[in-house]
Subunit: 218 residues, 2 copies
């Protein structure tokens, strides 16, 4: 495994946390299990993500070179795929092995991984036949430490995601509201018919005065 | 203008309608105003259509080498773009000229054109900065003539599109229901809280017994 630390350490003096992996240091993505130089990784225009926003994804962290809670994420990813009738392409090994291979060829220590399964190329522009599986590596998320100590403001919005049991790629509402949200808050909180649902990009947990923990459910 | 008729006429004996343009005869697409060989036309994986289903589109016919009702379609396309805060990339000429250029280089007579405007490449995987404009040519739609004489069956479904005033690329629900729909019907009819909305891929008009024409509106 290639560890790519020296580059960032040179520039971040006195920074004692893990060196940040810069986006331009991620050299490879995986498309349908094939390791592909990131600069050449692309989808043809008739992919159903581009034409119809049809796809699912998942996202998880890599710590000390290992994907965290990967079984749970792959279970959710597989469930989302099944609910949209998308077959995950046959790989030479397992999906988990494909993720680990990408971590290794990129020499990642602290990073994040995004899995995307699109409707695939469609000559008729509508019918999913052979989904495309993308595995992308990203830097470890760079979250403002003040968010943890001071908290964040949430802008509330009346909305429920379409087919909420599927982690689809559909972020029309969240991205459309970005400008308005960023003028007044750091996140978006969805509620629907009086019920709390989720944040645009994360779960929501509620701590009660008596020490309980709750979260929105069906 | 190159007229590409002989190829199909050879194979469709006795067929007296316009020769069908085969998909593999469409040689070029346009990406941000640049004519690109269709086989090389692609988007990098960090486009927000692929990562977040964020984009709009429009679709119209070409008859006798000319786009039909193009002003109306471009007006709707421009309105959809504005509602999602997407800037249409600056072209050397107008958008209409870019469409006409693509019709010309492909030598199209009867065809269809799809415009797509995606959220563009996003290093943070979320924030639209520089949208990607795609212009694609497709064959003229091949609709079963029996649909016009015998009608079609519609499967009704309780649904309204997210941000319905925007012609977004989001077809999660329509495509997810394709299998179920095709077992019993030829199209999907959306209604929402007792009101007729639209079909999954077309408008709906209602003819009344006294000769009136109506359609769903706000």
């Amino acid at each position: 495994m290639r560890i790519i630390r020296p580059y960032t350490l040179k520039f971040i003096k006195g920074f004692v946390s893990f060196p940040k992996i810069e986006r331009n240091m991620i050299a490879y993505y995986s498309i349908n299990g094939k390791i592909t130089p990131a600069g050449q990784a692309a989808l043809r225009l008739n992919d159903l993500s581009i034409l119809r926003g049809y796809g699912i994804f998942d996202y998880f962290l890599v710590k000390a070179g290992k994907p965290v809670f990967i079984e749970d994420y792959l279970e959710r990813f597989t469930r989302s795929a099944a609910l949209l009738f998308l077959d995950i392409p046959q790989l030479t090994g397992s999906l988990e092995e494909a993720v680990e291979e990408l971590i290794q060829v990129n020499g990642l220590h602290e990073a994040s991984i995004r899995l995307v399964l699109t409707g695939g190329y469609a000559d008729d522009g509508y019918t999913p036949l052979h989904p495309n599986l993308l595995i992308m590596a990203h830097p470890y998320p760079d979250i403002n430490p003040l968010y943890y100590t001071d908290g964040i403001a949430l802008m509330s919005y009346d909305y429920q995601r379409e087919i909420p049991e599927v982690k689809s790629i559909n972020y029309l509402t969240g991205i459309r509201l970005l400008g308005e949200m960023r003028r007044q808050a750091q996140g978006l909180l969805y509620h629907d018919r009086g019920l709390l649902r989720e944040s645009a990009r994360s779960n929501v947990f509620i701590l009660t005065a008596d020490g309980g923990v709750g979260h929105p459910c069906r």
